[in-house]
Symmetry: C2
Subunit: 134 residues, 2 copies
């Protein structure tokens, strides 16, 4: 069963390439961090603070593609934790059919925060238990 999470914090370091996002259970207290790269972290930040750029940056391009193709973004699901690495899917609806696209959680969340409204983020219950060491 997927558990809905929210992006509780984005912790940025200028001196390291390892950045952190903290996902917290929407209707609960469980939370866990995901280490992400600087490019994706600053891309998430730009969207959260509403910073705009003259040309579409890479995650804007992803959102533009979905819009231009009239595909409805649905949600992000973190599906797996393997050797300290999380795997995710960006799910969209095309002609009524759900299509799941493999993505890194960081890319999927950078897309999620750019959608209006932002896409909900889910974590598979088993992955959540693994993540919090339960």
């Amino acid at each position: 069963m997927p558990v809905q999470m929210e992006l509780a914090r984005l912790i940025l370091s200028e001196t390291s390439d390892e950045q952190y996002i903290i996902l917290k259970e929407k209707d609960g207290t469980r939370a866990f961090p995901i280490v992400i790269g600087s490019v994706e972290a600053f891309s998430i930040r730009r969207s959260l603070v509403g910073e705009s750029t003259p040309r579409p940056m890479t995650h804007d391009l992803v959102v533009n593609i979905l819009q231009e193709l009239r595909v409805e973004p649905v949600d992000v699901v973190i599906t797996e934790l393997r050797e300290h690495t999380y795997f995710a899917q960006l799910r969209v609806r095309q002609n009524g059919e759900l299509v799941a696209i493999d993505a890194r959680p960081s890319d999927a969340i950078a897309v999620a925060v750019r959608c209006n409204p932002p896409l909900p983020i889910f974590v598979d219950e088993g992955v959540l238990e693994q993540a919090i060491g339960g």
Copy 2:
């Protein structure tokens, strides 16, 4: 009229965030450089040298989205040069209809080199003349 170009060189510097690609006319000798960011430049490089990653990186995600949505990538067109900045479009075919999506040239080319076969790259004739100072 668009002129077909080829990605003649990718010039990477480890010490600067300004990287260069050189586009050269396919059936001619005109060529010009575009300054791009490191993230996009190294993404283009990874694809050119056939380096694979355990999870899809951002431009792989773009290509995966097009594949999963059964949309055919067509080409890249550099459409404008304004205040030393190039603007491009990634063009795809959806249900027989051509759809143009605004993108930075660097993102569009990072997608182009990942397609099989790689997408042709065009530059608007007026932009080419502007670029080479003609």
